[in-house]
Symmetry: C2
DNA sequence: CATCGGTTGGCACTGAGTGACAGGATACTG
DNA sequence: CAGTATCCTGTCACTCAGTGCCAACCGATG
């Protein structure tokens, strides 16, 4: 039923536009009563976004069935959404065409993506101690979701573009790398491993000796 | 008027709760008609968020009146929001108390923050070439907004906590640093400054000599 | 058959949001 | 000053989202 409603709704909206398609219209087209429609979708806009509820479950699932660097686990979990989009490519493309021009729908979509973000953030902050950890978890989650969002958007607007999963994997790597070397660290910036020394040399065309020299000069 | 409405609305909502406060109630309390109320706030929830429209302008302003590393400019611009919160601390605290338990209001707030994000993203991607630049702009904007959001949230829940501007500055630094050394770069990862050499030493208790030694060994 | 939990439909109601129109205030012009 | 254009407000009427309530129905189970 759920998916019947979704299909009928999309057809009607494609034909008449979203604002001109009432809950009554959709229910009628699907052969149910208006009242029942609102039992399936307490918010009218969500007829078009029922898939996200499923993806959300899938993401949550994947968070628990993998053990690795937390950011990578989170990223891998998010791929469930890409998988969903790929499987349902036809629907998802048509949807995006009707969502884009309607602010109420765009807003609703943003809020769905927000769900993923809070899910990831709570996962990422689970094994982080202290306030800073929770903050960084939110930041990383936001970055991951922005990446996912961009990947999906690009996939939708250029059907024959880059492979979305590959692009996402690439972005995920970049994000994970970024977070690895700075204050945006999982286990807090330093105090827990005070004796550790890390050295990063970027884009160097210099020899080790010359670098050592630079360090000498920079020391204070 | 605008601010009168805001004040009356907050009082009523504090007293009866949001769902039980109709647009009619608010308009009446402010001495205007319901119709006029909707002229000020096409969406009822926005009575409580009128300040964001102003902040948004301030942020946009600041984006143009500073020249520096783009991420830092963006961060500096966002501080306008913190300034606003600090100036209007009383209102903003009472608001947060009524917003937190009401999902419709939380959602609306999320969408306001989304506005900042798209604003920053479009600024950040302005001088970025190519697809990658636009993607990274979105990611960075999302990270900055998550940071701002966390800062404000923490400020609201613990009145006597850390200085929000200081905390934000710190997070901004972290984010800017993260982006500086990896693929998440503004002007592309490296090729434009191939001769630059950067060295970062983290949490070192070692001397410069010992570090130079490490580099030697790591060299391949 | 009886009945019991879950789903549906019908009905009525509240309240958000909007279009149309009619004053009323204000400012500008000669 | 009178005349007029402009903007703001209130009134009325309407559509439609969303919800509570109750009655009917359906399938399973004893």
């Amino acid at each position: 039923m759920n998916s019947v409603l979704r299909a009928r709704a999309l057809e009607l909206i494609e034909a008449r536009g979203f604002e001109a398609t009432t809950a009554e219209d959709i229910s009628q087209a699907a052969g149910i009563s208006r009242r029942t429609f609102f039992r399936y979708f307490p918010i009218r806009e969500d007829v078009l976004f029922s898939d996200h509820a499923a993806y959300l479950l899938a993401v949550e699932q994947r968070l628990t069935t993998r053990h690795d660097e937390p950011i990578l686990v989170a990223g891998h979990a998010l791929e469930a959404v890409i998988d969903g989009y790929l499987l349902d490519a036809d629907f998802v493309r048509r949807r995006s065409a009707v969502v884009r021009p309607v602010s109420a729908l765009r807003d609703r979509e943003v809020l769905w993506f927000r769900e993923y973000q809070t899910l990831l953030a709570s996962y990422l902050s689970a094994d982080e101690r202290g306030t800073r950890g929770a903050i960084f978890a939110q930041i990383v989650a936001a970055a991951l979701l922005a990446a996912l969002n961009q990947v999906l958007e690009r996939y939708l607007e250029t059907p024959d573009g880059e492979d979305p999963k590959a692009l996402f994997a690439e972005l995920l790597d970049d994000i994970a790398d970024s977070m690895a070397d700075t204050g945006l660290r999982g286990r807090g910036p330093g105090p827990e491993h005070p004796e550790r020394t890390g050295v990063v040399v970027i884009n160097s065309t210099l020899s080790a000796d010359e670098i050592a020299d630079l360090i000498d000069k920079a020391e204070r």
